[in-house]
């Protein structure tokens, strides 16, 4: 049976997260870059913006273009005809973020400014 087995060994799960209505702000250049990256797959694919632990400041941003996962846990926002998804569990951390796209030889790409963050790492990928 072992330490973690046996009848009656059911434990409460920690899962509570604050859910808020997500608002995202994309600049024109970010929308243009997003459309370019979608490469015509707007009907089947979505952009997922998420947060996970890590980085120097506590949390890391992640952006993925994937096939629509069809998951009820996401909030869907239409950005210039592209569906952008944010999971409910990340909603309080990511609502209100401003997403820009900078074309520079160094440090270019999507850049996120997060009004919910008290601090951010110099590289711009980590916040807390």
């Amino acid at each position: 049976m072992g330490l973690l087995g046996g009848e009656g060994f059911s434990l409460p799960v920690v899962s509570e997260t604050e859910v808020v209505d997500v608002d995202l702000n994309f600049t024109e250049s970010a929308i243009a870059a997003l459309k370019q990256n979608m490469a015509g797959d707007e009907q089947s694919h979505v952009l997922i913006i998420s947060a996970q632990s890590g980085g120097c400041s506590g949390y890391l941003y992640d952006m993925k273009i994937i096939e629509d996962p069809g998951n009820d846990g996401f909030q869907r926002i239409d950005i210039g005809g592209i569906e952008v998804l944010v999971h409910n569990k990340d909603s309080s951390m990511l609502s209100g973020i401003n997403i820009d796209f900078k074309e520079t030889l160094m440090g270019g790409g999507f850049q996120i400014v997060n009004p919910n963050a008290d601090r951010a790492c110099g590289c711009g990928q980590s916040f807390g």
Partner: protein
């Protein structure tokens, strides 16, 4: 001071237990702690630190890898914050479930262990096991650690078996430590708890062995890297010994400077405390606090 070593004693730890299940558990946890853990083999144990972005300690924990699951024993006072970090830090596409095991699992620590006696009491052939390797016997896990104050054997038990195990230990020659005895024991041996380490840097708490400079980014990593490469330790942990009880908290001592007492105990007419002092002040052998003299000993490596 040369502390007189007591006989084998056991203590039921008062700590928070969190079980993490799912194939991504180790990755999720590895991103949060300052200690490299993603190379942990199954049935092993490792101590870890949770730090903030300033590199200061938020929580201390012990991780056990148990057949695909992770068990974290951490401080009771910080458990909500630590669990919140785990829940919020799990990405939507990671399989990682956080479960509360506070009332389900317990750790009994046996200090100055006579391993032969443990073998006799539990029929567990643990004499030859390596430190921090879990040994399963019946529904219990045994794990040994070797410290400057001798061998400690920890037994992880389910709540339903706790009373039985404790009865076996009470009926043996082992002496049960109460919380006052534990405070006294840990101050003598310089064992820090969250009350000592919260908000302090790992090197001040002699916990740099729990900072892995080769693991990449984690909260506080930049500060730890800077301290490691060119940092200068400003404060150090010391033990105060005297005849009058000491009060917890920060005090400014004329002619000495600031002292921050984080743990204090008074038993058998002897006052003991753990405190942080500035390194420049640590050449003094005595300190005068509220009309009483106390000896100061800088704590060596744990």
């Amino acid at each position: 001071m040369s502390p007189s070593l007591p006989k084998s004693e056991f203590f039921i730890r008062n700590e928070a237990n969190t079980l993490i299940q799912g194939p991504d558990s180790l990755n999720v946890l590895d991103r949060i702690v300052s200690t490299k853990i993603n190379d942990m083999p199954d049935l092993s144990r490792r101590n870890v630190l949770f730090c903030d972005y300033n590199g200061r300690i938020c929580d201390v924990g012990t991780i056990y890898t148990i057949t695909g699951n992770l068990l974290i024993s951490s401080s009771n006072s910080q458990k909500e914050v630590t669990r919140r970090k785990l829940v919020d830090g799990t990405s939507w596409d990671e399989e990682c479930e956080i479960l509360v095991a506070d009332e389900a699992l317990f750790r009994i620590s046996i200090f100055h262990t006579d391993l032969e006696e443990i073998v006799e009491l539990f029929g567990a052939d643990i004499c030859d096991i390596d430190s921090d390797v879990l040994f399963e016997k019946d529904d219990h896990l045994f794990v040994k650690s070797e410290t400057t104050y001798g061998i400690t054997m920890d037994i992880l038990v389910k709540f339903e078996n706790l009373e039985n195990i404790v009865s076996i230990l009470r009926e043996s020659s082992l002496v049960e430590m109460d919380s006052n005895g534990w405070e006294n024991f840990r101050i003598i041996h310089g064992i820090t708890e969250i009350c000592d380490s919260l908000g302090n840097l790992p090197d001040e708490m002699r916990l740099t062995n729990l900072v892995s400079n080769d693991k990449g980014c984690y909260p506080g990593q930049e500060i730890h890297a800077r301290l490691e490469s060119r940092g200068r330790k400003i404060k150090c942990l010391c033990r105060l010994t005297g005849d009058s009880p000491l009060t917890l908290g920060k005090q400014k001592i004329p002619g000495f400077g600031t002292i921050s007492i984080s743990s204090a105990n008074f038993s058998g007419g002897r006052a003991l405390a753990l405190a942080l002092i500035k390194i420049g002040n640590s050449t003094s052998e005595f300190i005068h606090i509220e009309g009483n003299n106390y000896t100061i000993e800088i704590m060596g490596d744990p």
